[in-house]
Assembly symmetry: C2
Homo-oligomer: 164 residues x 2
């Protein structure tokens, strides 16, 4: 139900799906944009813009400047392929390709993993609450920071760590 820390097969499927959507909608998934997409897709945890810049720079003779990376990120975010996490200023792959809204993000404070979950009930509650005061929602940010399942267990049972 989520993304980030995918297996390599998942990774390829996901990139392929983005390619298909771009093709179907005449969106230009250029080499640069594709490269940024791959970087984000392969990352274990959401990447900051400057991590993207560093990785792009390492793959080239000359280092890339911030606007180059930010424009590629903006493209990916604008079309719903990548989500920008407001509370950490980081970018993660969006698992719900094709939907034009985002679910809630569960962000692990220990390992950095971010998972996106959709819950129709959440959308309903948000819409209802906004309507109650005559507010017209345009964009929603729902981010929960805490401990993911694995890290929660690791913290509760620290003796499980090998070698100390």
């Amino acid at each position: 139900m989520t993304r980030t820390a995918k297996t390599s097969g998942d990774h390829r499927d996901w990139v392929k799906k983005v390619e298909d959507i771009c093709e179907a909608n005449a969106l230009q998934l250029t080499p640069l944009r594709r490269q940024v997409l791959e970087l984000i897709s392969r990352a274990k945890a959401p990447l900051g813009a400057y991590a993207v810049i560093d990785q792009l720079s390492q793959s080239r003779a000359k280092s890339v400047a911030p606007p180059t990376a930010y424009r590629a990120l903006d493209f990916l975010v604008d079309h719903g392929f990548v989500v920008k996490i407001a509370s950490t200023n980081a970018y993660a792959p969006c698992d719900h390709l094709g939907h034009h809204h985002h679910g809630m993000l569960l962000i692990c404070n220990r390992c950095g993993r971010a998972d996106e979950i959709e819950n129709p009930k959440l959308d309903a509650v948000l819409a209802e609450t906004a309507a109650r005061i005559g507010f017209r929602p345009q964009r929603q940010v729902v981010e929960i920071e805490g401990l993911c399942g694995a890290c929660g267990e690791a913290v509760a049972a620290p003796q499980a760590l090998p070698n100390g």
Copy 2:
């Protein structure tokens, strides 16, 4: 049910309430912290950290450096008097003094006004969704950007603007 763009009476009531909580809990509401509290309280829309710095600087002979303002802001946020809006990096008064969690923030993209609403259903849905995948929440950010009631009407009926 909300805050920001209070009347002057609301403003004083709110500051007084913070004072009382500080007194009751032996928290030091120093002149600096109080000044920042007032700035945020009086602002029509959430203030960025550097807006706070500028206003502090104007009220003194010498300009204040960022850490001074950030420390005061951190104090106010840590004790739940002020909320930091992640999606805009701005600070707004918290209306739900005494509760140690935040409701959802409705942020107007047109006038900047931010209102905080509590909804137990929202908390329930978030908790339930997190529990479903074994996630332990520590902090939640729920921010909805859009148009507030007044701005929604203004946009729908632009002929209402005087003088063109």
